[in-house]
Symmetry: C2
Subunit: 306 residues, 2 copies
C-alpha cells in the first residue's frame, strides 16, 4: 500500500465533498456563506473526515463480501458524513479562537475567522457550520432515515455538553483557575479531542452498516487514538515553532494551560502517547479487513510534527 | 374553551419537559449545565413549544379518529420536540445578546447569560443548547427513527444558514451599513423570526403524523404568524417601556436598526400585523379539528403588550 498516495486520494475526496455539500458562497447572505467556506476550506489535516472514509472502506468491503454477490443493498456513500464531521470540527475551532475563548489570530497559517471577518460573523459562521452538520446528515441520507438517525445521534452526543462542549468548558475553567488535576486533564482531552475522533470512526462504521461488535471496537480505537493525538498536540505546542505548526506555538504554556507536558513532563508525555497509539493499534487488529492504511494513519498521527 | 387555563396547562407541560429533557445542573462540567438551565428556565412566553403541543393536539386527535378505534399506533409524544425547539430558540437569544452582537444586558427581566456568567460560558451554553436540540430529538424518538429524521431535518433547515442564522447575519449587516430595504427587512424577519415559528407548527404536525397537505398548510400558517409576531415586536420596541417588556426597550431605534416601524410607520405596521394575523387565521381554518385554542393564541400574539 502506498500510504501517502491513498491519504491524498481520501483528502482530495474530502475537499471535493466540502465544496459539494456546503451552500454556494453567493447564497444569501453571502458574507455568512463566505465565512463558512473560508474557515472550512483553510486546509488542515482533514483527519476526522479521512477516518470516516477509511473506516467505511475497511468495513463496507467486508460487509459486501459477507452478503455475497447477490446482495441487493449497496453501502451508503460516507462522504456526507465525513463532511458533516469536518463542519462540526471547524465550528469548534472558530468558536475556540474567539476573543472570549483562546483569542487566537492564526489558524492553519491564516487569520482566524474573526480576524478575517469580524466577531459577529465568526460567531454566526460557527453556529451555521454546527447546524449544517445536522442538516446535511438529514438531507444526504434522507432515503435511509434509520442511518440518518444513527449518524445524527452519534454526532450530537459526541458534540454535546457532556463531551466536546463539556471539554471546552472544563478547559476554560482549568485555565481560569489554574487548578487542573490529572483527572481534569483527562476529562478535557477525552471530551475536547477524543470524542470527535471516536465519532468519526463510529460514523464510518455506521455508514458501512457495521454491527455492534465492530462499532464497540471502533469506539475503543477512537478513545485511544484521540488521547494519543491530543498528547502529541501538547508535545508539539511545547516544542515546535509557529511556522511549522501554522498556529501560534507555545500558546498553551503562555496561557498557563495545564497540559500533559506540564503535568507529566516531555518524556512521560511521549511515552503516554505511545501507550495510547499501541492500544489503538491493538483495537485495529480486532477489526476485519486490511488494516494497513488505518495502521499507517495511526503511525503518522503519533509521529507527526505539526 | 378557557384559553388562559389551556395555555397555562401547555406552558406548565413545557416547563416540566424542560426540566426532564435537559441534563441535570450538576452534570460535569456543572458551570456549563447551570448556564444552559439558567437561560432556558428564565421563563418567557414558551410560544414555540406551545405551538408544537397545540398543533399536535389538534391533529393527533383527527388522525386517531381517521384510523378508527382498532388503530394500533399511538401518536408520538410531542414534548421532546417542543423542548428541542425551545433549546434552539434559547441558544439563538444567548448568542444574539453577546457583546459582539446586540450587547444586551437584560433578557426576560434578568441578566443575560454573559452578564450572569461570562462570555465564554454564554458562548458554550448557546452551542450546547443548539447541539442538545438535535441530540434530544435523536434520543427521545429513537424508537421512531423515521420521525426523528423528519424532525431533525425540519429543525436543522429552519435553524440553518439560509434561514435563522441567515436572518441574524442579514440583521447584523443591515444595522452596520444602515441601508436595509423593505426586501432586506422581509428577508430578515421571514428567517430570523418566522422560520422557527413555522418549524414549531410543522414539527407538531410531524409528531401527529400529519400528511403533506396539512403540513403545507401549517407552513403557510407559520410564515404569516411569524411575520405578524415580528411586526408586533417592532411596534412594542417602539412604544412599550423596559419594565413591561422585560428587555431593554427602544434598543432597535437606538441601534439604528431598520424595523417595520421605521420603514412603514406605526399605523401601517399595525395594519400589516393585522393582515398577516388574518392570513394565519385563514390557514388555520383549512386544518381539521377544533381551531379554538390556536385561533385564540394567534389573537393573543397579535394583541400582546410584551
Amino acid at each position: 500500500m502506498d500510504f501517502p498516495a491513498k491519504l491524498k486520494r481520501l483528502v482530495d475526496r474530502v475537499e471535493r465533498g466540502l465544496d459539494l455539500h456546503l451552500p454556494p458562497a453567493a447564497t444569501r447572505p453571502a458574507r455568512l456563506h463566505e465565512a463558512m467556506r473560508y474557515s472550512l476550506q483553510a486546509g488542515g489535516k482533514r483527519l476526522r473526515p479521512v477516518l470516516v472514509l477509511a473506516v467505511h472502506e475497511l468495513l463496507a468491503g467486508q460487509n459486501a463480501k459477507a452478503q455475497g454477490p447477490g446482495a441487493k443493498s449497496t453501502p451508503a456513500d460516507p462522504l456526507a458524513a465525513a463532511v458533516a464531521i469536518e463542519c462540526l470540527h471547524t465550528y469548534s475551532l472558530i468558536h475556540d479562537d474567539l476573543p472570549c475563548m483562546d483569542n487566537d489570530d492564526l489558524r492553519r497559517g491564516r487569520p482566524t475567522a474573526h480576524r478575517q471577518f469580524d466577531e459577529a460573523t465568526a460567531l454566526l459562521a460557527g453556529d451555521a457550520l454546527l447546524t449544517h452538520a445536522f442538516a446535511l446528515l438529514a438531507e444526504a441520507y434522507a432515503d435511509r432515515p434509520v442511518l440518518a438517525h444513527a449518524l445524527v445521534r452519534e454526532l450530537a452526543d459526541a458534540a454535546g455538553s457532556r463531551r466536546l462542549i463539556g471539554g471546552q468548558m472544563a478547559d476554560v475553567l482549568a485555565e481560569k483557575h489554574a487548578t487542573a488535576t490529572a483527572d481534569d486533564l483527562e476529562f478535557i482531552h477525552r471530551n475536547k479531542t477524543a470524542a470527535m475522533i471516536e465519532a468519526a470512526l463510529v460514523m464510518g462504521g455506521l455508514a458501512a452498516e457495521a454491527g455492534p461488535a465492530p462499532l464497540a471496537t471502533l469506539r475503543r480505537l477512537g478513545q485511544h487514538l484521540g488521547l494519543a493525538f491530543q498528547i502529541v498536540d501538547d508535545v508539539l505546542d511545547a516544542t515546535a515553532d509557529t511556522a511549522t505548526l501554522g498556529k501560534t506555538a507555545g500558546k498553551d504554556a503562555q496561557a498557563g494551560k495545564v497540559t500533559f507536558v506540564k503535568l507529566h513532563g516531555l518524556a512521560e508525555s511521549r511515552r503516554l502517547a505511545q501507550v495510547h497509539s499501541d492500544a489503538a493499534r491493538a483495537a485495529l487488529a480486532d477489526l476485519p479487513g486490511d488494516p494497513a492504511f488505518l495502521g499507517a494513519l495511526i503511525e503518522s498521527m503519533a509521529a507527526r510534527n505539526k
